[in-house]
Symmetry: C2
Subunit: 230 residues, 2 copies
Amino acid sequence: MFMGSPGDTTTPYVPTPRTTPTRARERVSYDRELVHSVLDAGYLCHLGFVRDGAPVVLPTLYARAGERLYVHGSTGSRPLRDAGRPEVRADGGMPVCVTVTHVDGLVLAKSAFHHSVNYRSVVVHGRAVQVTDHEERLLALDALVDNVVPGRAADSRPADARELAATAVLRVELAEVSVKVRTGGPKDEPEDLGLPHWSGVLPVAPVYGTPVPADDLAPGIPVPGYLTAR
Amino acid sequence: MFMGSPGDTTTPYVPTPRTTPTRARERVSYDRELVHSVLDAGYLCHLGFVRDGAPVVLPTLYARAGERLYVHGSTGSRPLRDAGRPEVRADGGMPVCVTVTHVDGLVLAKSAFHHSVNYRSVVVHGRAVQVTDHEERLLALDALVDNVVPGRAADSRPADARELAATAVLRVELAEVSVKVRTGGPKDEPEDLGLPHWSGVLPVAPVYGTPVPADDLAPGIPVPGYLTAR
C-alpha cells in the first residue's frame, strides 16, 4: 500500500508534547480532515532539519498522499543526500519538521499588542526517509506535479531513467501532526473600543494571473483548461 | 545604534559553507540590496530552531531594521523562552534559521522533470538573542507592526507596561545570509520542444481584498488610506 493507509479520517492525530502548544491552545487542533485540507490547499512547505547541530529551513514543494507527505529534489542537494546516508537510514530517517502556512488576513486591532494574522498552519514532526521503491517514487513524483497544478502530471512528459536517477524523493509519515487556525476579527480590550483607530481584517489570498507562454512554445498550443480555470 | 549598522549596502554578505548551495548555484546571491528587498517584500517567516535534537519550524512575523531581523511572541511561547535561558544567553543566543519565501509563478515545462517555481527566498543563519533594551524593544515592536501594514504603528495604541512585559523580542543579525531567485520560463530539453504540451508560467501573487470592519468598530471611522492603497 504505497500511498499510506487511508485510515479513518474521523480519528484525530494523537497530541504529543511537541505538538501541544504552551499558549493559544484554543487555536490548535489534531483533526485529521482539517490537517488534510490545509495541506491540500498548498504546495510550498518549509522543511526544517538539523545539520552540525544547527537548524536549516528550506522552502520546497510537497504533496500529500493519504497519510504520507512527499518532498523531492536533486540527489545532489544536501538534505536529500543527508537523508540517504546509511547511518541515517539505520536510525529510521532524518528528523525533520515540515511546516505549511497560509495567510488569510491581516488583523488590525485598536492596540498594537492585539494585532494578529488570520492563518492556517500545519506542523509535521517526523523522520524523512528516502523512497527507494520504483512504483512509490513514480506515484510521489506525479503527486508533486499534480499538487501544484492538478491535472498536469498526465499532460507532460514523464521522467526518463536519467531524470529519475537524478531525483531523490523523501517521505514523511503524518503521525505527529498539529494544525493551528486563526479566523475572525481583532480581539480588542473593552477599554480600547472608544479609540479612533479603524479595526478589522484585511483579507489576503494568492491570486493567479494570465498564463505566460514559454518563448519556445510552438504556436497553436492552447492554454490548458486546468490553468484557465484557476 | 539600535537598528543595526546601516553599513555599505553595496558590500555583499560573505558566503559560508552553509550558505553555499551544492546545486543551482546560478540562482544564489549574497547581494545585500537584493536580500533586503526580498525581506522587505514580506512579513511572514519560518523560524527554525532545535529542541531536544530535533528541528522545529514555526511560522511567525518578522521585521528588518538595518542589518537586524526581529521576531516577537509571547514570553510564554517555547522558542522565546528557550532563547532567554541563561545557558543559551551565555552561549551567544539560540541557533536559528529564518527563511522567507515568495512564490511568483508556477513554471510548467514540457517534461515533468523540468517543472519548477519562480520564487525569491532568503535564508538567514544565526543566533537569536532576547532584546532587553527598552528602546530597542519599542523600535522592534513598531517595526513588526509597520512591516505588516506600513503606517499602522502610529495609528494604534502603543503597548502598555503589562503588554510589554508579556512580549519577548528576539533579534538575529544579518550576517550569514543568502538569497535565491528563480525567474523566467521553463528550461526544456531541446528534444522535448515538439511535444504537444503547453509550456510557460502561471504568475501568482498575494492580493488584498476589501477591508472587513470589526464587529465592535464604532460607526464613522473610515478605512485608513494605508489600507485602501494596498
